[in-house]
Symmetry: C2
Subunit: 342 residues, 2 copies
């Protein structure tokens, strides 16, 4: 009970050296198969559990991957984390997770903690306002692999895991145009971030393809929050010439906007069509159901951890594949369909 079993206990009971026990437990090829069986049986019998701290200390590795996200409690991020946890657990890696709460200041503090925790690798989705790369430099200097996902730091030379945000923005906008909508407002987040700037590019591309002039007044930068959705609705209500469609870079914000528009007697899609982004469950439980871009959050989390572990194990070099792009897709529901357009 009180006493912990070590490889020395196994060794002495089996009349072997601790070195052999250690090798057998780690499935070292030089050890006789029969000896391995013996040792593993004894380990099982005694309830041995390996001491990670001794092992990590000796090996100078931590088997730990750090994760920094803007926030833990958004649909996308909690789903990404769920995917990460699954893979990490299966591979015997630990995750240290922290949230920047959308502030570069907190993100810097988080990177310091991660650095001091000696993570073997770091996975980051950057905050809204991050515009310096400096806090990531210590990792590169120490050759600790750094991978960005979702919200990447552009021109960083670090590997990135993303979806094709431009394509997502393009498809969302094109769909609206094909439904007959021409005056489309794009509600987005801080354009410093690739996810938003790329979707904007897609939006512009679609407009230009259909020869609809782009107006910068039609791009509204918001916090993409629940509150932002309400504000957008009120702003639209006050507009002399109303848009006929909205492309919103977040489902939750889109849905909140739709609810508020309804309160203001503007109905969706009849008065204004709406397309969201993410395929958050919320998009299915409102009426009208929200057309959106499916975001493979779980897959992204899995891919991020898998790539990191492969790199750490030397299975493949991350630098070679600088960007991994996951598939996203348009899901058409009622909120964007042309009905009885007035």
């Amino acid at each position: 009970m009180g006493k912990e079993i070590t490889i020395y206990d196994i060794a002495s009971q089996l009349q072997l050296s601790p070195a052999t026990v250690s090798r057998a437990l780690n499935n070292h090829p030089a050890i006789n198969e029969k000896t391995k069986v013996l040792i593993n049986a004894k380990a099982e019998e005694l309830g041995y559990r390996s001491n990670k701290f001794a092992s990590n200390l000796r090996k100078q590795k931590t088997n730990t991957i750090g994760v920094i996200v803007p926030r833990l409690n958004s649909y996308i991020m909690s789903t990404v984390i769920a995917g990460m946890e699954k893979v990490a657990n299966d591979e015997g890696f630990n995750l240290i997770i922290s949230q920047s709460l959308e502030s570069q200041r907190k993100e810097i503090a988080n990177t310091k903690t991660m650095f001091n925790s000696r993570v073997d690798g770091l996975l980051v989705s950057v905050a809204f306002d991050t515009d310096s790369f400096e806090h990531f430099q210590p990792f590169l200097k120490k050759k600790i692999p750094l991978i960005f996902f979702d919200r990447i730091f552009e021109n960083s030379d670090c590997p990135n895991i993303v979806i094709d945000n431009a394509k997502g923005g393009y498809e969302a906008t094109k769909h609206l145009i094909e439904q007959g909508f021409k005056n489309i407002i794009h509600i987005t987040g801080n354009l410093k971030r690739n996810v938003y700037s790329d979707r904007l590019k897609g939006y512009q591309q679609a407009l230009s393809e259909f020869e609809i002039p782009f107006k910068s007044d039609n791009v509204w930068v918001t916090a993409l929050s629940l509150e932002a959705g309400k504000e957008v609705a009120h702003r639209i209500k006050a507009l002399p010439i109303k848009p006929d469609a909205l492309f919103v870079s977040s489902d939750l914000c889109a849905v909140s906007c739709i609810a508020t528009l309804k309160e203001l007697n503007i109905t969706v899609p009849n008065d204004i069509a709406v397309v969201g982004f993410n395929n958050d469950p919320v998009s299915q439980v409102i009426s009208p159901k929200l057309t959106t871009i499916h975001y493979p959050a779980k897959e992204m989390g899995e891919m991020a951890v898998k790539s990191m572990i492969n790199h750490l194990k030397g299975n493949f070099n991350l630098d070679a594949t600088n960007t991994i792009t996951l598939r996203s897709e348009l899901i058409v529901r009622e909120s964007s369909l042309f009905l009885t357009h007035s």
Copy 2:
């Protein structure tokens, strides 16, 4: 760059022993204040970072708290985790998080991993179908503190952190009754779990207080998922005598049900009033807005980690305070208001 600074480097540069450096860095009272200042300055200068693995190995502690939740990507749980992360980070503890995906089998596997990771303490919210305590016994045997939160294991003698679910159920039901609704169906989850059985008790208590007979046919056990919400709506549609209200133990399920009811030409609250549970953001972005019970998820996460750390530090004994109950409250919105009842 390559070389890591240790206390030996600091010691030799300062002509001191590693023992003194170690003590100074840990703010040991026996060390001269001036020496401490000197040592800390040198540590800073050299970019020293403590090696947790050596320290943990020596101290036989891990500074790690294990967390097992049913799933990471639900509003409640991701918010609980966000609260946990905040406190753990501030206190220098690490979290190892894993998800049981509502299966006892996976939960058992998770407890094994946690045990082998030698967590200093374990925080658990149990799966839907967990009915054995056996997989937690190894922790008690080794005197590793175990705290349950949200979904607790009843009669376990372990400390619990919960809300007053019976009170929540009571208030939700009482509110509906006071609005004039009498035929109230309760949609809930697996009644093995305290969160659901207690809410049911509250529901029954409110009915009995108003002398409305309880009918077990009015309690529907579901997965409380998005899909479950749809099924409930269809089942109601098929009912010869329809209920006038629904008390649903999850906002997401409630909202999905409302959306489907609407498709079936049953409107909320006019035809059927609805009260949810959790105060998920989704409750605010639909129309009508959902009346619900606010669940202090972030606070629960913070409290769980705080209690665990205090216990580990010996600040107070957990066994003394067997149950910590956090405040929840009814939030009245449109979905439950008596309008033009037909």
